[in-house]
Amino acid sequence: MSAAITLDPRDRGGPAQPLLSVDGLKKYFPVRGGLLNRQVATVQAVDDVSFSVRKGETLGIVGESGCGKSTTARLLMRLMDPDAGSIVFDGDPVGERAGITVNEMRRQMQMVFQDSYTSLNPRMTMAESIAYAPRMHGTPRKEAFDRADTLLAQVGLNPRQYARRYPHELSGGQRQRVNIARALALEPRLVILDEAVAALDKSVEAQVLNLLGDLKSRFNLTYLFISHDLNVVEYMSDRVMVMYLGRVVETGPVEQIYRRPRHPYTRALFASKPTLDPDRRTTEMPLTGDPPNPINPPSGCRFRTRCAFAKDVCAQSAPPLAAPLDGEVADGPPHLVACHLPEAQAAMGANTHA
């Protein structure tokens, strides 16, 4: 696989250099209210998130609503400006004098959104939507439309049948294929898939997941796969990052995270997954209550208010992402966990069933 990656003429630092590294990413939203529209609170949507994506891998980001996974995606695409943090794309800092501009990065990094309908302009045909971005970047009309036809065929839609159709005439799965084709039109190296299969029926979801797998090897893509669906993330990802209330609580290779989650939240999350085995139904609630509001989150470890192991130290300081405290070392990418307590990391949950 790495041999194929080095063939990419745009590659700069070789296979060892991460394609994307993010350091200290932060986004706070002001909540305004009152008479003079003053800021009354802050939503700490993304708080000090750092990670990197290797060339050719799929990094899965998983978490519940309000955990900041979608905000992270939008910050990476610069659809909103981060309050702090740096983004480095293949060795080049983005938006800094020494590096590449946001627009240069966007040519190499594209995004597929959850809602297949609203992410297509209702007044544009499929071919127009796919050809749009290349045309804005100066590709001649004929060439852009020819390429749109090729892309349609590559995502499994017959261009003769679909190129001139409008979004409302297609099914959700077909529209999502078009969205994928559009994301590929600029020949990106990294594709962010933000809940890209969440709105699809299961049988269609499987088709699209297969398609994503095919396209990845065909175009040497790197994926950032964001989802709330634990099963889909496990199937797609090489590495996984678990987020809770704007922070990363655990990250590591998919087998390690799923086989032996160290963070109490990760364990509870996996234990909440409905079983497919009617004889091994869930009998105990892994967690009670809803995820807390990201407005003014708890001090220290954000999970402590729902954690069975919480101690004083958890309220005092935020635990850093570090190697698990049991000292077990595995080969490959590091497994990191943000938890103060060795006993909380060592506890085994009821999540060992698949």
Binding site: S203, G213, N231, P274, R281, T282, G289, D290
Partner: protein
């Protein structure tokens, strides 16, 4: 009407029995056959899950049971609730049943709860309407219901408006509202789909526990195989407005007979499939405005033969009560 295996297997009378339910949406230039002959029966304390994808007719079936379909919908068939036929009852009679003997919870509690009344007022109002008790008693009952659905600090929550609650709390409040008049049948239309996983499992466990305590029958509609496995006693798989297969949860999950059920289970992703290609069902669901003759799944089925495209598809019922509607089943299932 052939016995399609969903009839109650024991002697006690079912609380809900549905016979050959059909729903068509007929308007100026469209004729959508949303439900095409659904039959099932349900005993006290039993949960039947209707499993299907969007457009399969599962939600429409539920709304037909509640009498919630728009005027241009043509509903036919027979529906018995506690032994009384309810389809075609006058609107006033039906309104009395709704929220009383039969009630429903929805995917979006925010849309189903009234934003301008507190949770307590809404529950109390339902009780006053159906049972004619005074407001104070009704409020007391509402408090008890909130405790029952395990809403923390229920006295305070009673005075909350829907928007002041989190998604999980709202769903619990809606369950409390639905249970206000101790219904014998609870209809649940994807009640956990909009919730986070950690909240979803709480609501599923709550429903299971409430059912044990109160003994109502539940018709649960979902597209999620995992949720179906957690909640149901029996599962009926719906495709293009028809049940293609039904049986106990174990039968369906372990030994699916119909090619559609097999495909649905195979395309439900889980971790063990890592690295391998997913099995998929090719194509898209049929257009309900022009269903093919014969088996509606035939265009997507890998076993299709001539017999599938013509005439009625045989319904095979096994001695255990499991049903499958498939030409192939005549050979694979011992009759």
């Amino acid at each position: 009407m052939p016995d399609i295996g969903l009839a109650a297997t024991t002697t006690d009378t079912p609380v809900l029995q549905v016979d050959d339910l059909t729903v068509r949406f007929k308007r100026r230039n469209t004729d959508v056959a949303a439900v095409n002959g659904a039959s099932f029966a349900l005993r006290r304390g039993e949960t039947l899950t209707i499993l299907g994808e969007s457009g399969s007719g599962k939600s429409v079936s539920l709304k037909a049971l509640m009498g919630l379909l728009p005027g241009y919908a043509q509903v036919h068939g027979k529906i018995w609730l506690d032994g009384r036929e309810i389809l075609g009852l006058p609107a006033a009679e039906l309104a009395k049943l709704r929220g009383g003997a039969i009630s429903m919870i929805f995917q979006e509690p925010m849309a189903a709860l009234d934003p301008v009344y507190t949770i307590g007022e809404q529950i109390a109002e339902t009780i006053v309407q159906h049972e004619g008790v005074d407001r104070r008693t009704a409020m007391q009952r509402a408090l008890g219901l909130l405790e029952r659905v395990k809403i923390p600090s229920p006295e305070r929550r009673l005075k909350n408006y829907p928007h002041e609650m989190s998604g999980g709390m709202r769903q619990r409040a809606m369950i409390a509202l639905a249970l206000a008049c101790s219904p014998s049948v609870l209809l649940a239309d994807e009640p956990t789909t909009a919730l986070d996983v950690t909240v979803q499992i709480q609501v599923l466990l709550l429903l299971r526990q409430l059912q044990q305590e109160l003994g109502m029958a539940i018709v649960f509609v979902t597209h999620d195989v995992g949720v179906a496995a957690e909640i149901s006693d029996r599962i009926a798989v719906m495709y293009a407005g028809r049940f293609v297969e039904s049986g106990t949860t174990r039968e369906i999950m372990r030994h699916p007979q119909h090619p559609y059920t097999q495909g649905l289970l195979a395309s439900t992703v889980h971790g063990a499939m890592r690295g391998s290609k997913l099995e998929t069902i090719p194509g898209t669901p049929p257009n309900l405005a022009s269903l093919p003759p014969g088996c509606a799944f035939a265009p997507r089925c890998r076993y299709t033969r001539d017999a599938c495209r013509t005439g009625d598809v045989p319904v095979i019922t096994s001695p255990t009560g499991a049903m499958v509607r498939c030409v192939r089943a005549t050979e694979t299932v011992p009759a």
